[in-house]
Symmetry: C3
Subunit: 449 residues, 3 copies
Amino acid sequence: MQTLKEVQKVKKTTLTSAFKSVGGEMYALAEELYPLCRSITGAGTRDTLEILKHHIPLVMSKIPSGTKVFDWEVPKEWNIRDAYVLDPLGQKIIDFKKSNLHVVNYSIPVHKKMSLQELRRHIYTLPEYPDWIPYRTTYYKEDWGICMTHKQFQGLNEGTYEVHIDSSLESGYLTYGELLIEGEQKEEVLISTHICHPSLCNDNLSGISMATFLAKHLMGKKNRYSYRFLFIPGTIGAITWLSINEQKTGGVRHGLIAALLGDTGPFTYKKSRRGDAEIDQVVQYVLERNDKRNKVIDFVPYGYDERQFCSPGFNMPVGCLTRTPYGEYPEYHTSADNLTFISADSLEGSLKIYLKIITVLEANRKYINILPKCEPQLGKRGLYEAIGGNNDARKFQLALLWVLNMSDGEHTLLDIARKSVIDFETLMEAAFQLEKKKLIKGRREKGDQ
Amino acid sequence: MQTLKEVQKVKKTTLTSAFKSVGGEMYALAEELYPLCRSITGAGTRDTLEILKHHIPLVMSKIPSGTKVFDWEVPKEWNIRDAYVLDPLGQKIIDFKKSNLHVVNYSIPVHKKMSLQELRRHIYTLPEYPDWIPYRTTYYKEDWGICMTHKQFQGLNEGTYEVHIDSSLESGYLTYGELLIEGEQKEEVLISTHICHPSLCNDNLSGISMATFLAKHLMGKKNRYSYRFLFIPGTIGAITWLSINEQKTGGVRHGLIAALLGDTGPFTYKKSRRGDAEIDQVVQYVLERNDKRNKVIDFVPYGYDERQFCSPGFNMPVGCLTRTPYGEYPEYHTSADNLTFISADSLEGSLKIYLKIITVLEANRKYINILPKCEPQLGKRGLYEAIGGNNDARKFQLALLWVLNMSDGEHTLLDIARKSVIDFETLMEAAFQLEKKKLIKGRREKGDQ
Amino acid sequence: MQTLKEVQKVKKTTLTSAFKSVGGEMYALAEELYPLCRSITGAGTRDTLEILKHHIPLVMSKIPSGTKVFDWEVPKEWNIRDAYVLDPLGQKIIDFKKSNLHVVNYSIPVHKKMSLQELRRHIYTLPEYPDWIPYRTTYYKEDWGICMTHKQFQGLNEGTYEVHIDSSLESGYLTYGELLIEGEQKEEVLISTHICHPSLCNDNLSGISMATFLAKHLMGKKNRYSYRFLFIPGTIGAITWLSINEQKTGGVRHGLIAALLGDTGPFTYKKSRRGDAEIDQVVQYVLERNDKRNKVIDFVPYGYDERQFCSPGFNMPVGCLTRTPYGEYPEYHTSADNLTFISADSLEGSLKIYLKIITVLEANRKYINILPKCEPQLGKRGLYEAIGGNNDARKFQLALLWVLNMSDGEHTLLDIARKSVIDFETLMEAAFQLEKKKLIKGRREKGDQ
């Protein structure tokens, strides 16, 4: 367990002064990653991981195309160098170099002239948002497509168009990055974020940036838990990791999917499938106290990679903590999810919330009262006199009594916070003092070292 | 389990076109049975069962008077041929042939002249409803009585009256009817209705008619469960059946008491004593979606034969589904509960509700995901492409994901409907498709064959 | 179990006519005890117990100073004969004989002249209530102090003061009183009240008086449970009793801390740490029906001696039933908590509530239906005919059916009262009649003889 001093250091130093520029650094990382054309495989994704390695010592795994992963198999590797469309006058009306969203992700190579009629069958637009380019993929069906603004689509004249997609879809690798920060215990907290979206910011450069800086922060500390960070392509990446690392899943005591963390909305936490896992309780507690607008919703079997971690054969204690949930803002999966849609402040606020959650997770234990019959005499141990008579002192004394009374090995500090309506930090301090005086001790848990 | 096709056939064919006249037929049966003077024993009850045999192959049981049935014994058989009262002028002022309610049910034979004062001690009226004749019984105390309108009672003059009740109370039989429709499984759904009331329609020709047509319908189908229908006199009939068939009670997985199904009120379901039996959950679900005015109430140990089925020594999963509950409408147990008080539409509506409940019961299973680790790849099985992009398709895809995720052998389809807020029929269809693709299988239950 | 007759006798005789003067007697006892200077040890406390012995045969226990009791030890015995303060003019401005609150309880002997400046460091007042003297203690730190009104404090002139505290703090005894009233069963109901406060009425002469008269009442009756009354100094007395009587704690099936029972406020019940102990259910039921203003609150680990009885090593089913809770009225722990603050009516009302609770506790049992299959025939046992047709009779018949149906050995009468919304007394009567007719029997509990 962290000592109180360390926690306070996190709280006071890290979360205020030291963080003055963290949001800016987080934003800068997103900015650096923005131009790359990521996908579930390919060079853009690998380059993304290489940039992250400037911040944290990621270990890269390369899984060959065709590898069986549960009911799926690792797809061919997709790479794209360039793409454009020439209109009947030979003018370049679509240019991949201007926006990689113009090409449906995983489009097969195309070099072909065609009528407008034929071209139209491959064009995707957003009639409701005529200035935005949609984001589309065709991972598991060999096809191709061009995304453009609806405004541009409406201006297309009849005639012969020329489509060039200089892509390749060949046997290769699926690549993901992983980082294990070892703690006092082998039991792990899993933080997973998806890295497969091209030039889209909130979904999910925000998650990538937050996870990177969270890992960076935790690397500098002595932690109770071990922390495992996954930077993986959505769905197939999670399935691949789970397939290869099945034996590690039992060691995950808490987990969070990090995504959609750069917009200005309040937080939404989607509980794990278990619904009452410790991570569910802790995130709910932190969010409730942070902002009344934050929301906690029940598990649903769609969304991000919690779908895989919470499939019934795993049922891991993994929830998903975002700001505005996916699909609930119009910019979602469009060219409007760009660098203006996210902000340094929002990214930093997201990092702070993740850190608060980790502070509570690290300190949340069940204690055992060593002198459980009647109250111990606090006065002779200086826990009564020391505290004078003001309000804070009284609150602290109540915290001591609550921790003593509830330390029967069945109640966590968070349970006590709920029952007593005393804030978690005060109870942490009380537990720290009581442990120092040998009045309580932490309960050994399965998985503790 | 019914295939989806069969269910839809029920839903579309049976419940609309084929039902155009079912309400009429149900009403006609009530009309045919109305004149008979039923009781807990005797010819009227036997004749009633004989008429039902024109519709369904009832098996009749005759239990001799004096048979010990738990704490009770089968009473003497009561029969009545005629009854009348002559006033001081010799005028027939009460005539059994005009209404069998005029004679207190189970009255002993009487042939006697008496003063008005003496007669009065045997007269029952309803001062609050002066035009209605009350329904009274004296099954377990040898006595006699005359029921009349309060208006007529107030017009009686002093003088000598002559009372003739041509009844008999002799050793004989208690008779009930029973029908077992065998299904794929031996486990049974019990539908029980009481048949002991004379010329009263809602209580309970409506129940008799509904149960008859429900049985008729189920006989024409291949059912998962076996269905046992009981047409029994109230209280003593249930006690008798339970006493003789004690070893069969363990095979009853769900049960409903059918009564009061012809009036125009919304439905009221009284839960089984267990309170959370599957039948309780299913009926609640169906009623909630059918009409906001429907009500579900907790078990109380009075009412109809659920009193016996839910006595603590049996505690069977048997609830009671009526329209307006007993005692909550003024016509209850009076001559106003006649053929104008019930309607073909209400009877048909009741049959439909029972059929909907049975549709859900039949399909409600716990499934086991055969590929529980991560999501299976739906696309390669045509469960993704097949469904296009419209709203229904999206809803159906969510249904597939919900069924897959919750199919851990612990959740029924109804549990999934509650959690997902997707309607049961869509989940049925999803389960049907997933089972066809060998992605899930039904969990074997104790009692499944 | 008490017979119904006995219960009704309590209800009608004792609680109305016989009680006409009980409140007066209770008040008179408080009046008699008021002048004594009680503390956690010493003559005042012993004298208090001697006076109680005029009412009930208390057994006194004397535990020597220095005895180890769990984490504590029995303190030195404190006695005080006189105390006064002379002002610079030699006038007696503080006189212990006028109010024993003037001296901080457990003050060491003092005979000393001092400046006002030095004296001030030992003076305690209540600026918010300038006419009241505060009550202060210094049990575990050898010190001394003078309590006075703030008004008097503000009038003190510079000069030399003379302080005389003729007290002693020497090896001696901690004394407490105990009374066991044996019942049919060895299992006990514990009633504990603290006796350590000097001239303060609500806290806690009211508790002492109530407990004394409750004991007196129960001694005259044949009870199901045994009743143990403790008259002990707060905290150290409870710790001492528990330390000496650890092996008896398992026999306590229900317990109440009695305190603050003389003011005019409604009742507040603080639940035991278990939260759903039978005592918690019973008190909640009685309070709800007694007055809408009564409150039930969750356990908190501070307050009176429930702190010790509900420490995690004991976790006894002991709640605390007061009127206005401690600290929630301004007179608390001041000279204003005097004989005008409590009343005969309030004391009597408190006794009645405790008696009602005991009536329910005594009668609250789980029964077993001897004929659990179907309903027994009530008519042939006179339980049907006897009751005619009025409302009370109908209610009583429903009570019979409820008790029969729920008597599966799992439901207490109180559970049935909750489910049926029939009042407990009617259900008691129904259970009494059914037991007489050998239709139900009480379930043997662990601890029953």
